[in-house]
């Protein structure tokens, strides 16, 4: 009997292992929601609002995926992750997709077993200091104490930059962006370094934003984007084309307000993306109105950007590199056809 029950356990375990490796899309559909990894709270990108509902630029990517898969943007459960935890959470299957200002690097793409689906924010690392220090350039930071978040490319760039400039610094590492901000505000360090988007986000929530200045130097390329586990190509394709649909929709002038009208557009490209013609959605294993659902329920890339990061928000980030390729930026999505 003992032996029999052991065999039963072993068999069940094997079956479960088999089930776990089946398509993520099927798993997500079966459980009825997407488990989306976000930051532990970064204003504008992902943070719970007054009602406790997650919102932000990264959150809207999760909602877009939900709209594409379920026709409902709210079938998402959010897992707040620190910079340290995020990769393990994705590797272990705790989350289905990570949308958390994560820099696309070779090691992460190749060695850690991930698949970056594209870039949703072109960023670069910068420095923020208190105005009272009278520093106007990062080249004056020799001997400074620098606060930063551990487990990030930020640490590597910082070491490289100071070594290249022949300057010294002391680093103080924390787990979450909130802890870094508190230490910086408490004057435990002179400099706060992270991606510039993060600096603007943090500056928007400190008591006196005008007392802090973001230095002009950008010391790295930080293409931030969502990522999924390596090895499930269908799931990777869906995430990639949800992002591309957001960007393409903006380029084509499709907004949440006019999406319904655009469905009947005479422009064949727009009709294809909106699912009025062709079978793009079916090729992805989704319904044909997937992109229509995204844009009508969440908005296009530009709308999402303006809503959470743009001039109307406390962050006041200009589009810069993140403008469309034909409007002075480098935002460029492959054609949906």
């Amino acid at each position: 009997m003992k032996k029999a029950s052991f065999l039963a356990v072993a068999a069940t375990a094997t079956l479960m292992a088999g089930a776990a490796s089946a398509g993520t899309l099927d798993d997500v559909k079966a459980k009825g929601f997407i488990q989306c990894g976000v930051t532990t709270g970064l204003a504008g990108f992902a943070a719970p609002n007054d009602q406790g509902v997650w919102e932000g630029f990264d959150v809207d990517f999760c909602r877009s995926m939900s709209a594409a898969i379920f026709g409902d943007p709210d079938k998402v459960k959010y897992t707040p992750t620190t910079a340290k935890e995020r990769f393990t959470a994705l590797q272990s299957g705790e989350i289905d997709v990570l949308a958390r200002n994560t820099t696309w690097t070779l090691t992460r793409d190749v060695n850690l077993g991930f698949e970056f689906v594209g870039v949703n924010y072109y960023d670069g690392q910068g420095f923020m200091v208190k105005k009272s220090l009278g520093v106007s350039s990062a080249k004056e930071l020799d001997g400074a104490r620098v606060c930063l978040q551990s487990g990030t490319t930020t640490e590597l760039n910082l070491a490289d930059y100071f070594a290249a400039e022949g300057m010294k610094y002391d680093s103080v590492l924390f787990d979450t962006a909130d802890e870094v901000r508190t230490a910086y505000l408490d004057d435990k360090c002179d400099v706060y370094t992270t991606d510039q988007s993060g600096l603007y986000a943090q500056r928007s929530v400190v008591p006196n934003p005008d007392n802090h200045v973001v230095l002009p130097e950008v010391i790295s390329k930080e293409p931030l984007g969502p990522l999924v586990r390596h090895g499930d190509n269908q799931w990777g394709d869906i995430a990639r084309w949800v992002l591309n649909a957001l960007i393409n929709a903006e380029e084509m002038g499709i907004t949440s307000a006019n999406a319904a009208d655009m469905k009947g557009s005479a422009n064949p490209g727009i009709a294809r993306l909106m699912g009025a013609s062709g079978d793009l959605g079916e090729q992805l294993g989704l319904s044909n109105d997937w992109a229509y659902n995204i844009v009508s329920m969440v908005g296009n890339y530009g709308e999402i950007f303006e809503k959470h990061l743009g001039q109307g928000t406390p962050l006041k980030i200009s589009r810069g590199l993140n403008a469309q390729w034909n409007k002075g930026g480098i935002l460029y999505a492959p054609p949906a056809r």
Binding site: G151, A159, D170, L173, D175, K188
Partner: protein, 395 residues
């Protein structure tokens, strides 16, 4: 006896308790091994499927990031490896744990004794400290100490000048650094000779007291030997070191040695928290010694301090040591909360940063667990040895 009889008398093997016991042990062991094999195999397959490289090769890869507090060795982001990160993490954990254990023991013994004082005021102060500190989570206390440092200490430019070239400010405590020059080794050697000599002197003093009843000021003699010998050695060898004073830089104090606020906050938090538990253990230990012992000592006319030191504490230690061991282990493990206050110990930099830069979760977590296991076992071994040594020898 009965088992043997039934075994020999041909009752089925299944009913023989000895054989049955062995059978189940083998079965459980087999199931456990099968489970380990299954999990291991599954892990390897999953790692391969996801294209995650495994192995310990990453330890020789350059780390690429800097560490705030580096003791005893050099670290350079460009050339040092993840193996060095592991070493620094271990050293930093051991440094704060060791300092924390010493400090917590001192605090614990002082407040444990004060808690039993007949003076109402002293007694209540000790009680308040113990009850308040014991009942607040350590993480909250760490954040309090880290934040409190910011609230009470001045900025770099307005540093508190404690004595010549010793400055206290929000960035920590800065003091002059000793830079060894040729012939420096004579000083630590003199220190060791001083310690060894002190041990001999105390043995000799004990013998002399046993034989003649004459007490000898062992404490002062030892202090003189341990501090005096190195000083004489330094003077005789022509002061083989130079001193680097801390100086004000553009942002911070440069040069010299400094204790960072992160280290100080962690040390204070750990020592004060664990100290309150040790105080309770000490109180329980002292209470366990029969009051008759105190009365007997009093009737001999022994000073209350000596009564405590020579009569009560040695007996109380039997009760104190085992739970004290467990507090030392707790303190060491609790040092892993350091990541909340930015102190770079093994969990923060190795199983935090290195894990994230390399993605070798399994190997790194295994090494970290191994480190804590070894440290815990060493502390246990040492404390058990000490416990045996001080146990009452019954004649």
């Amino acid at each position: 006896m009965t088992a043997d009889v039934s075994g020999q008398s041909g009752v089925s093997l299944w009913r023989d308790p000895k054989i049955r016991a062995i059978f189940f042990q083998v079965l459980v062991l087999g199931l456990f091994l099968a489970f380990v094999l299954y999990v291991g195999n599954n892990t390897i397959i999953n790692l391969e499927k996801r294209g995650i490289a495994s192995g310990f090769g990453f330890l020789s890869q350059p780390a690429g990031f800097d560490i705030g507090v580096v003791l005893l060795m050099d670290f350079n982001a460009q050339t040092s490896t993840h193996g060095d990160v592991l070493l620094i993490g271990m050293i930093n954990t051991l440094a704060v744990s060791f300092a924390g254990i010493v400090l917590a023991t001192i605090i614990g013994f002082i407040f444990g004794v004060l808690r039993l004082s007949n003076n109402w005021m002293v007694n209540k102060i000790a009680a308040v400290y113990i009850e308040v500190v014991r009942n607040i989570p350590l993480l909250v206390q760490l954040l309090f100490w880290y934040g409190a440092v910011g609230a009470f200490l001045p900025g770099v430019k307005d540093s508190i000048h404690l004595s010549e070239n010793v400055y206290l400010n929000i960035r920590g405590l800065a003091f002059p650094k000793i830079i060894p020059e040729a012939g420096f080794m004579i000083i630590p050697i003199a220190l060791i000779i001083g310690i060894v000599a002190t041990v001999f002197v105390s043995k000799w003093a004990q013998k002399r007291q046993d034989a003649t009843g004459q007490p000898f000021p062992t404490f002062w003699a030892g202090l003189g030997l341990i501090i005096g010998l190195p000083i004489i050695a330094a003077l005789v060898s022509g002061i083989p070191f130079s001193i680097e004073d801390p100086k004000f830089g553009r942002f911070n104090i440069q040069g010299g040695w400094s204790l960072e606020p992160e280290f100080l906050a962690l040390l204070l938090g750990l020592a004060i928290y664990t100290g309150s538990f040790i105080a309770e253990i000490v109180r329980a230990g002292i209470n366990s010694v029969s009051h008759g012992q105190t009365e007997a000592a009093n009737s001999l006319g022994l000073h209350p301090n000596k009564t405590m030191r020579l009569i009560i504490l040695p007996q109380a230690l039997r009760v104190i040591i085992p739970p004290l061991t467990s507090q030392y282990l707790n303190l060491t493990k609790n040092s892993s909360l350091a990541t909340a206050v930015g102190y770079p110990e093994i969990v923060a930099i190795f199983s935090g940063t290195s894990l994230n830069q390399t993605g070798q979760a399994i190997e790194i977590i295994a090494l970290t667990m191994l480190f804590y296991l070894v440290i815990s076992l060493l502390i246990s071994l040492f404390m058990n040895w000490y416990n045996k040594k001080i146990a009452l020898v019954e004649r």
